[in-house]
Structure formats: C-alpha cells, structure tokens
Symmetry: C2
Subunit: 367 residues, 2 copies
C-alpha cells in the first residue's frame, strides 16, 4: 500500500481544465481573477495557477496569507473581516506584500483601532443578501461613515467594495443562480457609479463559485474571487456549476462490509475525512457523497442509485435503492467518494495525492 486508507486523490488534468476554464472566462469578460485559495490551501496548486498567469489571490485568514506569501504571492486579499487580534500579522505581512483587508461594518472598522505601520488596501464588505457579514448596499449612511473613516487614514488605500454571494450555494437551479447574480450586479454597479466620482480607482470584487461558473455576464465587476471551482464537488454539480465529470478530487475508501438485508455497505470514510456537509437528493434524502467505481487510479461516473447515506466519525454507510446492486460490492474493494464540499474535505484530510503517488500537502497538514 502506497497510502493509508482512505486518502484523497486529485485528478491533475481535470484540475488544470477547471483553472484554465475560469482563467479564460475572466479574460473574455475583462475581469481580474483573484482565486480563493482556501479550497486547496496548498502551495503546489497555487503554482499551477501561476502557469496561467495568475498572480493575485484571496485567502480566508492572515495565517493563510503568510503561508502563500512564503512562496512568493505578493498581492493577497484576506476575505475575512479584520479584527484587533490581527494587528501584528497585518503589520508583518504589509511590509512585503500588497495586502488587502476588509471591514464588514462601521463597528468592525472602528474596533480595529490600533495604528498600522504600512499601507494596506481596504475594501468595504457588502452583504448582498447572504446575511453572513458585511453592510447592506442600501445602507448608504453606514457606507458613507466607513468611507469617510477609511479616507482619513493615510495608510488605508480605499480599494472599493467586496462581496460574497453565498446564497447561491442554496440555489436549486442555474436559473436561480443567474437571477441572484444579475440582481446583485445591478446593486453593485449603482454603488460603484455613486462612489466613483470621489474615488475614481475603486473596484468591485465579487466571489462565489456558482455565479462565476454559471454566468457569463460580469458587467460592472472588476475582479472575481471563486475558489471551489478548482476541484468542484457534488454540491456544485447539484447546483449546476459543473458536471460530475469536472470534479477533480475524490476520497478513495475501502468497502469494509456489505449488509444485503439492508441494501447497505460500510466503508471506512467518515466525518474526519469528508467533514459533514450534505446535499438533499431529489426525494429529500440526505447524501454525504456520491459513489463511483475505482480503477487504474481514476474513477468512473457515479453509480446510479448509490449514495453515502450517513457518516459518523470514521464510518460511512452506502445506501442503495437497488439491493442487488449493492450486493455486488465486496469487502476490500476500493470505491471513490465524490465529496459534497471539497474545501472542507481537503481541510479535514490535510493532504492529497496525484495519480502518480505524489503527495501534495496543505498548510494544515496532519502529523
């Protein structure tokens, strides 16, 4: 055995195709691509982006910014609102890196009260309906207060507005994603036109894999920040951001037992490997992953009527509508689990492997 089981296998070719597709889409639409690196958390994958001319990135923590800066990334947006605890690391990073930080409200902004030592780019985070973090684009008073405060600080360079359209993850169709996306573009361009008079250089930075994968209209945007598309997963294929065939990452798990009476099989593969996101299938059944056959270091189309029904810490239960079919599985057989949420699966595992056995470590690699 080269690997202990289960392990994560990355299809390098599919991953490159996913990167290339998004790079071309960004070029075609004249927007910068600043991919979110929290999905792969890996210097190696970040280098693949460089092959396509990408030299901007997004991360979700200052520790992650440090990690990528250590490999030469020097224009980084930390797309998580800054707090007083980040003061030292902001000053360290901004010595050598073009660092962009975000403020998610006036309260958040004024709480970051200590004087910084070097110039940083500053975005105001907008909440365009996801209700997670940021100011509503309608809240012109709070935005004005924030812009005013930012422009009074010589070390803050006001870069514009940033948003993450996370509600697209709950969309049931590509049409719904398109609808959310277009509505948001209208809001954002209105806001940009308003502030452009005083700040001609401001930009709109916009993220999320569903919108950026599904839409081909980025009118008014300056930059997109999708992340998940590098690997995709079955949450994305169920939304319509990709096909199952675009999914580049999968967990290779051994079948441990088969229970013909229940039409179920036990695999080694649980929450510590996949994390615990799920999608709802058409009949509202929960699925924690799709199951595919494994051969010659790659995988085929998902089995029809098989799905990962439940997971606990290390156990996974495959269920099937077709008892005869599940009985064809054998203890010791390796199967492939397409994850529901590849970002969390990568974080859980901490490393993944290419088909030639090369190990790619993430910044949160395990002992």
């Amino acid at each position: 055995m080269a690997h202990s089981l289960p392990y994560l296998l990355l299809n390098k070719e599919k991953c490159h195709e996913n990167i290339q597709r998004m790079v071309e889409k960004a070029k075609r639409n004249n927007v910068k691509l600043r991919p979110h690196f929290k999905t792969h958390q890996s210097i190696e994958i970040a280098r693949w982006y460089k092959e396509y001319g990408i030299n901007l990135c997004t991360v979700s923590s200052f520790q992650m910014a440090e990690y990528f800066a250590s490999d030469g990334w020097d224009d980084i947006t930390v797309a998580f609102p800054v707090s007083i605890y980040d003061y030292e690391i902001v000053n360290n990073l901004s010595k050598t890196v073009k660092l962009n930080i975000i403020f998610s409200s006036y309260k958040n902004l004024i709480a970051f009260k200590r004087e910084i030592n070097h110039k940083v780019g500053v975005y105001i985070e907008l909440d365009c309906g996801y209700n997670r973090s940021g100011v509503s684009p309608d809240n012109t008073r709070e935005i004005a207060l924030m812009v005013n405060q930012i422009s009074q600080n010589d070390l803050y360079q006001f870069k514009g507005f940033l948003t993450h359209l996370g509600q697209t993850y709950s969309a049931k169709s590509t049409k719904e994603v398109e609808g959310l996306h277009r509505k948001t573009l209208t809001l954002l361009t209105q806001l940009k036109l308003f502030w452009k008079e005083s700040f001609p250089e401001i930009e709109i930075s916009y993220g999320d894999t569903p919108s950026c994968s599904i839409s081909d209209d980025f009118w008014g945007l300056d930059e997109i920040r999708p992340g998940n598309f590098v690997f995709y997963d079955i949450m994305q294929s169920s939304i319509g951001s990709c096909s199952n065939d675009n999914i580049a990452l999968a967990l290779i798990s051994p079948v441990i037992d088969v229970y013909p009476d229940r039409g179920e099989a036990l695999i080694k593969g649980g929450a510590v490997h996949l994390s615990k996101d799920f999608i709802l299938l058409d009949d509202q059944t929960k699925s924690f992953g799709a199951i595919c056959p494994f051969s010659e270091n790659t995988w085929g189309e998902p089995y029809k009527g098989f799905w990962l029904k439940s997971i606990s810490q290390e156990h996974g239960i495959i269920a099937s509508n077709d008892f005869e079919q599940v009985n064809t599985l054998k203890p010791g057989q390796l199967v492939v689990i397409l994850p529901v949420h590849s970002c969390l699966t990568v974080d859980s595992m901490g490393e993944f492997f290419l088909s030639d056995g090369t190990c790619i470590e993430t910044m949160r690699k395990r002992n």
Copy 2:
C-alpha cells in the same frame, strides 16, 4: 497573544471529574472500563486515565492503536471492523500489544483471508439496532458461522461480542436512552448465556456515552467503552448524559462584528474548527454550538437565547432571540463556544490548551 484564535480550551478539573465519575461507576458495577480514545486522540489525556488505574483502551483505527502503543498502552481494542488493508499493521502491533480486533459479519470475516502471525483477540460486532455495522443478535445462523470460523484459527482468541449503541445519540430523553439500554442488555445477556457453554471466557463489550452516563445498571456486561464523556458536549447535555457544567472543552473565538438589525453577531469559528454537527433546539432551530461568556481563562453558563445558528468554512453566526442582548457583544470580545460534538471538534483543531497555556497535541495535530 498566547494562542492564535480561535483555540480550544480544556478545563482540566472538569475533565478529571468526568474520568473519575466513570471510573467509579464502572467499579461500582463490576465492569471493566475500556475508554474510547478517539475523542481526545492524545497521549497526555490517556495518561490522566492511568492515574485512575485504567490500562485498557479502545481506538477507532490501527494507526490510533500504534499511536497509543507508542506510549505504553498494551491492551487495545480497535473498534472498527478489520479489513485486508490492516494485515501488516495487525501483525506489527500484535507482536507487542494485546490486540483485539472485530469482525462485523461473516463476509467481513472471510474477506480478512491472510494468515496472521501472532495471537489476537477477536470480537464479533453486534448491531443492536443502530444499523451501522455488525450482525444482528437475532441472526444466530451467521453468528454460529462466525464463531465456527474464528474457533478454527489457533491465532484467534474468541473474546465474545461487542456492540455500540449509537442510536442513543438520537434519543430525546434519558428515559428513551434507558429504554434502549435495557432492551439491549436483555438481548446481549441471552446471547452470552447461549455461547458461554462452549466458550466460558467470553465477554460482552458495550459502548456509547449516553447509556454509560445515564444508566446505573450494567447487568450482564463485562466491559464498557464510552469515549465522549471525557469532554462531553452540548449534544450530550441535550440528551441528558451530562449537564452543561460537565462540558470540559470549548472553543475560544473572537467576536468580529455585530449586526443589530438582524440580532446577529459574526465570530471567527467555523466548520474547520468545530466540524459541522448540529443539534435541534426545542423549536427545531439548528444549533452548531452554545455561547458562553469568557473570563479569567474559564467560562460561565451559556447565554440564554443565544446560539450558533450557522457556520461556513471559517465564519460562525450567533443568533439571538433578544436583539438588545446580542448588541451587548462587541467586536474583539472573546466568547466561548461549547461544541456540539467534541470528538469532531478535537479532530478538526488537532490540539487544545489548558488554562495555564500548556498545549496538548493530538495524533492528528496540524502543521
């Protein structure tokens, strides 16, 4: 800052109390305590058990068995069904350790076809209604086939029957747990009486934190294997296995922003810190954690009307029934999140801290 945020804080005193309480209960009921170490995955915590005379342990993988064997644990049950991929590690471990393995069906047993080199203890895993892994106690034919196969192998020492009553985790009351527990005891003692004639030494090994915490009747059992009780969590307090005051582990997270209009606050603390289990509150709202005030390196009772409503990769949203109350939170303030499932939270974080700043590393520590 001593720690980067968020970090896991362990209350050593509560943890010792939890260990001591279970040790005393096992003694009182004349059953062996073989605690499950997948909850803490830490040599340091395992040593605390030794202070109470515990020298048996349960683990969920052979890698975990190796890890604890490296610190002198020499009587270990791997409570996950064995597979052909474990062949080498079984042989390595059984050289020096009294190793117990489990078979979860006749299929699983015969799939482990290679000859082993050293004596191992063997349990037949029973499925007493959880429908995860194991043979039904009613399936006398399959059990007889397995016993027969096991007894034909000189290196297999038939130890008896092992079960995990996982369905207690879905129980809504201590009464329901008691009911499931008593029903299972009856099944298990019948089975033991039947097989005791041929194998006088066989034992019943029984696990799960809710049953072992709630019940005080272990009649017919030889060994209990609870794990979670060492830390507990709000899933356990909601079942009734413990009070919130027994929970020994919590995530210390900074408030990043407060949104008075929504009655919500943003913390740094998400799926990569807590994993994604949730409980349903009385009104069927999902909760990913309880929120407590933090001061002097410890925490108070959970805020009433506050809960962790949703988490994404690194963001957590605190919701409140009381808008005025949530507005008392301030960006930069540290709050305490009592986790829903401490085992998965520990696995996600990979390390935890005592109040004196001592770092306790797990076997899956992060870089």
